[in-house]
Amino acid sequence: MATSAIIFYTIAGVMIIFSLLAVTSRRILRAAVYLLFALAGTAALYFMIDYQFLAAVQLIVYAGGIVVLIIFSILLTTHINEKLEKPAPGKVFITAVLTLGGFVLTVYTLSQHNFIVSDLPQTEATVSHIGEKLLGYGEGGYVLPFEVISILLLAAMIGAIVIAKRKASDS
């Protein structure tokens, strides 16, 4: 077994286990931390396939941004020591059957499909390269989606502020 395979399976194991923990843990703050680990595992995977920039973004935005947001919201809405109640066993059962069924189906479909793995050499995904393409307006340029996403983010930001803002009458 090659080293890379060992590393991959380790990362995969970490991701799966922490994902599972994240959705089952009854302590909500822990759940958030497990999510962080699962996301970090993803970043590791990206590093492993030499997508450093993406990995960095993954870490910064997901781990640094979203998880922190989630933790803030937890702190704002829940007591730290409070344990979440157990989901009803029946519900757990049904959900488990449903998701497992979905998983099995997916795996079955995957197994039926023959992926043609390309032999072509991998292109360098350097930061500058990505940056040029992202802001390029020629063939294969992504400036339009980029701008759209910018506006979306702006809108989301304004929206978030407006929604979360206390109304004058509340204070």
Partner: protein, 105 residues
């Protein structure tokens, strides 16, 4: 570096992650933890894009962009969602999903 790992294995991992996220979304009652499930699902899909790019079209970098955009959207979504949660919590002192059903009419 991934020559020894077949693509299907990676995909099985991501789909496992996706369905774990779905499981979380379906069983949890706290909105924040449901959001955690959603993030997991998003992340799983994200990995798929990257992996397809890596395995099937290594000469292109479009997969990067999808991943990047999804991350950006996920961030936006999380921000808005959390803003809604906080507002909701402020209004009904709870972020239990079962108590949020006023919009059905």
């Amino acid at each position: 570096m991934m020559e020894h790992v077949p693509i299907s294995h990676v995909l099985i991992v991501t789909s496992a992650m996706f369905f774990i996220g779905a499981y979380g979304f379906l069983t949890r009652r706290n909105l924040v933890t449901m959001l955690i499930g959603v993030e997991l699902m998003l992340n799983a899909v994200n990995i798929n894009f990257v992996i397809f790019d890596r395995y099937l079209f290594p000469n292109q970098i479009e997969g990067h962009f999808f991943a990047l955009f999804i991350i950006a959207i996920a961030a936006a979504e999380a921000a808005v969602a959390i803003a809604i949660f906080i507002n909701l919590y402020r209004n009904i002192r709870s972020i239990n999903v079962e108590e949020v059903d006023k919009m059905k009419y």
